[in-house]
Symmetry: C2
Subunit: 203 residues, 2 copies
Amino acid sequence: MSMAEPIVLYTDLISPFGYLGAVGLGPIAEKHGRTIDWRPFLLGVTVMQVMGLPPVPETPLKGPYALADQPRCFRLMGLEHNPPPERAMQPLAPNRALAWLRERDPALAVRFGLAVGRAHWSEGRNMSTPQALAEVAEPLGIKGPELIAAVQEPEVKAKLKSHVDAAIARGVFGAPTFDVDGELFWGHDRLYMVERWLETGGW
Amino acid sequence: MSMAEPIVLYTDLISPFGYLGAVGLGPIAEKHGRTIDWRPFLLGVTVMQVMGLPPVPETPLKGPYALADQPRCFRLMGLEHNPPPERAMQPLAPNRALAWLRERDPALAVRFGLAVGRAHWSEGRNMSTPQALAEVAEPLGIKGPELIAAVQEPEVKAKLKSHVDAAIARGVFGAPTFDVDGELFWGHDRLYMVERWLETGGW
């Protein structure tokens, strides 16, 4: 008997829409007996370096749209939208921490990713630093000092870089992107297609 | 008694996703007793000039994704995906024809826009020229020679330009964009939110 493949969730922890995608994917994956394999990547590399585009917040027309879109998408999913005053999360420490945890325990990495998103986007706690991440990690049974040390380790930095390279090779550019049995869907608003794909085996 | 406002559909006829948005919006609008006000704009102006971005097909990573996404989105809506070999539609004649028809009869403009999309994206008939558009228009009771003359008239050209300016002033950048009682939603994959907004009066 073959096990169903995990649903791969490519996301960058700095993305509020990536957080919405992770929250929404949970019950869909569970309903279909799938686990989630959360693989971090860096929007700063895919969007700015590979695609050659400015960040969305600095893009005329799209920047203001995305800013207004964010709170209503949180409300629609019943989530509080309360980012820290600075809004932006610095990407390296959070995504390295996720890459580190994923090697140890993929399910724990998913719980950590969700906890980081909730803390930053709903509880207004800026998740940019190893210290802030350690505080969120402790209640999940992750030792804070270990996390703080891990995100400075060369092999963890290299692991995140290899995730970024693999995501680009797979054709991933935006957060969240879902890989369901080899089919890519970009955007938390495509979860209805992810669900349909799982229900029908593809169309 | 106040009449319910029309749902404004901002789209550029060259967009296959705009066509999907128009098709999907029809039954939603009807269910909620709303008419559709189709206002043309030009992606070449919003995306390339105002946002300063390359066209999606030429954007690394996103170009290949969008190309693969197109046929599966058509299939999901039960529509044939059979564009002409050249794929691209030239924007000026189709969008001018729509701007011209909208002045005469907004409901007819919607039927025309749907017929143009069906012909180009499902029937492989390139809709770039006034002649091709006239052939699609005739069965709708629009006189072909009148359409061919109209798209050359300075006031029709100016009308399209004013639509483009108005769309940009409204914050529209991508096709399709729906304006539901003052709330903007971008993307045919956001129709589920348009429907929810109509059902709930906003959330």
